[in-house]
């Protein structure tokens, strides 16, 4: 089952809830606020315990998005759930490396790898 929400699409598989960012650029405060208001209820209401954030559409983001990701990860961990990220392009991954957030987020090359990691951990 998949659903479209402002700025994201959500897919529910047997093993994970996959949240895919739809926009190529995520910059403005209002975009980030809107994403937060969209993603948080998905996390709160999902019966799944494994979440994947897929960035494959995203070509550019600001540091405010990193703050949003930290908020999401906090919410996920409060639910005793897991969060994986995937599809991050090399230029954006460099931002994660520079800020050292690659050390605290669980990041995979693509969706298949993120799903496989969840299956092997189950």
């Amino acid at each position: 089952m998949a659903s479209l929400k402002p700025g994201i699409s959500v897919q529910y598989t047997e093993t994970a809830t996959i949240i895919t960012f739809a926009k190529e650029k995520i910059l403005e405060e209002r975009d980030i606020q809107s994403l937060q208001e969209t993603i948080m209820p998905v996390v709160e209401q999902s019966e799944q315990v494994h979440f994947i954030l897929d960035f494959h559409n995203v070509q550019f983001l600001s540091s405010a998005v990193l703050g949003l990701l930290l908020r999401i990860s906090k919410k996920v961990y409060e639910k005793n759930s897991t969060l994986r990220m995937c599809g991050i392009n090399p230029k954006i991954y460099e931002i994660f490396k520079i800020t050292r957030l690659n050390r605290i987020f669980d990041i995979y090359d693509d969706l298949d790898a993120a799903l496989a990691a969840g299956e092997s951990a189950a």
Binding site: R30, F60, S62, L66, L70, K91, T99, R100, I104
Partner: protein, 148 residues
Amino acid sequence: MLSKEPVGCSVVVESKSSAAEKVIGQILSKMKAQKFADDDIFALHLGLEEAFINAVKHGNKFDPAKKITITYTIRPEKAEICLADEGDGFAPGNIPDPTLGDNIYKIGGRGLFLIRSYMDEINFNEKGNCICMVKYNSNKNLKPKPEN
């Protein structure tokens, strides 16, 4: 023959996050026209967005009466951008490193760190309400080497 295209420009924009979209697009187009490397354009784009957000949020505190002046010069060898807000300024040296200790878990505080990481040179005026950033064109290989 010398180009009649101006290399520099100064633009005054409102204190809202979407206000710089047009001028940022113009700056990036000029960098592409001057054949800057893609990584340089990405880096300057990031630095510019972060500096502008800081000016809107921390400088002018979203006050619609206050403006932001963006001055830029794009030459084949380097791009220079200055952003001045109408706020009280700040001391750049007092901003904590977001990669150290528990700072890594903080929601904000990474903008200036990213600007420092991605730009080749940055300078502030004494008051701290104007930042000037330089990005050299990697394709021209003219970036000054650090002194020993």
